[in-house]
């Protein structure tokens, strides 16, 4: 394993030191591994916190700033953060209008955020609402599993709910917007290579030169099936087919289409994939209202990509277009 790190045990804390140095507009609580927007708490605004295992950068800390998150809690690599972090963040971003916890649907994340909400209720008077993202159509039979995973839609949700909070909407309203985004969003991912967790020191799975893995999550969890390595056009079909089979995205105000890189994929390939995705959507009668292309929810050094579609309506598009100023997403400001 070759990585630009010192000690596998210190990767997250040292990266946070780098984030603090590179982004003076943010505040970092190194002890609790929390990144805050510099002006938190914003009085009268619903506070948004998210968090999860590290290794998905820029998610979540790269999305802290006006128009998106108020705070992000960083866990160890691929390991949910702990309730103490979320409780601390909840206290510090509460501007009197309550706090929304944005949680990706993984057993560990859900349980830790649940405990945090219980503890916050007991220790503080802050009103907390939670929304769990679960957009990954690779997980079928969700009755017999931990349910669909939260993946790409998390990025879109943090942006859109962040804009709703910035507008001064109430906690209930912001949580509603967030749930609407989650319900209208579906994703599917694939890997050309495994990632390597620093502490493990070797690839999480082995994938021969001739095969790719379809339906992977963002933690190096193996996918649902291996298929021969095929051209990008076919990969786009593998990813979109189950998404379009799951939900009708045609008509209406179109979709926000998001082609995401897994960390080790060049932008050149992501744009090429976006071209293929756009072509399939056009044939399927799905209008692309907005788009996002880049590595936004990654899996360390994994080569691969995911596609997320989010059903748009006028409100969501207005919130999507609203100003955002974070290290990784920035427009309109």
């Amino acid at each position: 394993m070759k990585k630009l790190i010192n000690d596998p045990a210190d990767v997250v804390s040292q990266a946070l030191l780098g984030m603090a140095a590179a982004h003076p507009e943010l505040r970092v609580d190194h002890e609790n591994k929390i990144v805050y927007r510099g002006d938190a708490p914003v009085s009268g605004k619903v506070g948004l916190i998210s968090g999860g295992g590290s290794g998905h950068e820029p998610l979540h800390a790269g999305f802290v700033g006006p128009g998106m998150l108020d705070a992000a809690c960083a866990g160890e690599i691929f390991t949910s953060p702990v309730p103490d972090q979320m409780v601390e963040a909840t206290k510090r971003v509460d501007g009197g209008a309550g706090v929304l916890h944005i949680v990706k649907n993984y057993t560990g994340d859900v349980m830790n955020f649940e405990m945090a909400a219980e503890m916050a209720a007991a220790e503080t008077g802050v009103e907390v609402a939670s929304v769990v993202t679960n957009d990954d159509v690779a997980v079928q039979d969700s009755l017999y599993t931990a349910g669909r995973r939260g993946v790409g839609v998390t990025v879109l949700l943090e942006k859109i709910a962040g804009a709703a909070a910035e507008q001064g909407r109430s906690l209930t309203e912001v949580a509603d917007v967030a749930r609407r985004v989650n319900e209208g969003g579906r994703s599917m991912g694939m890997a050309l290579t495994s990632c390597t967790v620093p502490a493990a020191g070797q690839p999480t799975f082995e994938l021969p030169e001739t095969e790719i893995e379809i339906g992977i999550g963002i933690h190096g969890e193996p996918g649902r099936r291996r298929v021969p390595h095929v051209p990008a056009r076919q990969v786009a079909e593998y990813l979109l087919e189950p998404i379009l089979a799951d939900t009708d995205f045609s008509g209406g105000d179109g979709v926000i289409a998001f082609v995401n890189g897994m960390g080790g994929t060049p932008l050149l390939e992501l744009y090429l994939m976006f071209h293929e995705v756009a072509g399939i959507l056009e044939k399927a009668g799905v209008r692309v209202a907005r788009s996002l292309v880049g590595p936004y929810i990654t899996s360390l050094d994994m080569a691969g990509c995911s596609v997320t579609l989010l059903k748009a309506d006028e409100d969501l598009l207005r919130l999507w277009d609203a100003p955002v100023r974070t290290p990784a997403l920035r427009w309109g400001v």
Binding site: F78, G108, E114, Q140, T204, F205, R224
Partner: protein, 220 residues
Amino acid sequence: MTGAGADTVDLDALGGWIREFARLVGEHRDELTRLDSAIGDADHGINMDRGMTAAIAALDAAAPASAAALFKKVGMTLVSKTGGASGPLYGTLFLRVGATAGEVDELDGPGFAKALRAGLDGVVARGKPEAGDKTMFDALAPAVDALDAGLDEGASLGAALRAASAAADAGRDATIPMQARKGRASYLGERSVGHQDPGATSVALLVAAAATALGGPGQR
């Protein structure tokens, strides 16, 4: 290593259980992580080792004055330091064990068994596992049942714990053919079959540690 009477365990022995568990977790760290890389995200050994190392450090910093304090400290530390699924699950387990054990400085067999069952109930409350879901529950539930059964049949705590440990091992092995329905492994569907559950494996270490630390001297 047991307490005053053969069937009573004092605070030292209970602390010894935690320390022996931490030692076993450290020893099996890579194995637990390897199991997790087959059907999860390759961190179970790392998580448990981080959590237990912190728990031991917390115990070293100040010796708890009661079983309640001991297990609360372990539980809180695991919640605060472990992360992942195992943090809340093992954390809740020990918090419930402590709450049930109470402000005492020793436990008899039935008292320990009652506390451990409370821990199991905590795991169920937190994670909603059912038998056959291929989780830590599948090693812990048979172990708690075996402990109760042994004591009911009049066995010594040591003998009952050794039976519990054997039951945990069997429960752990029984996870191999199961298809996971909880946790990350469930995403694999049928591909989870044929792999041993990491959490069930660490639970087997937990119960083995109890047999070693609480099962009486020289009786392993």
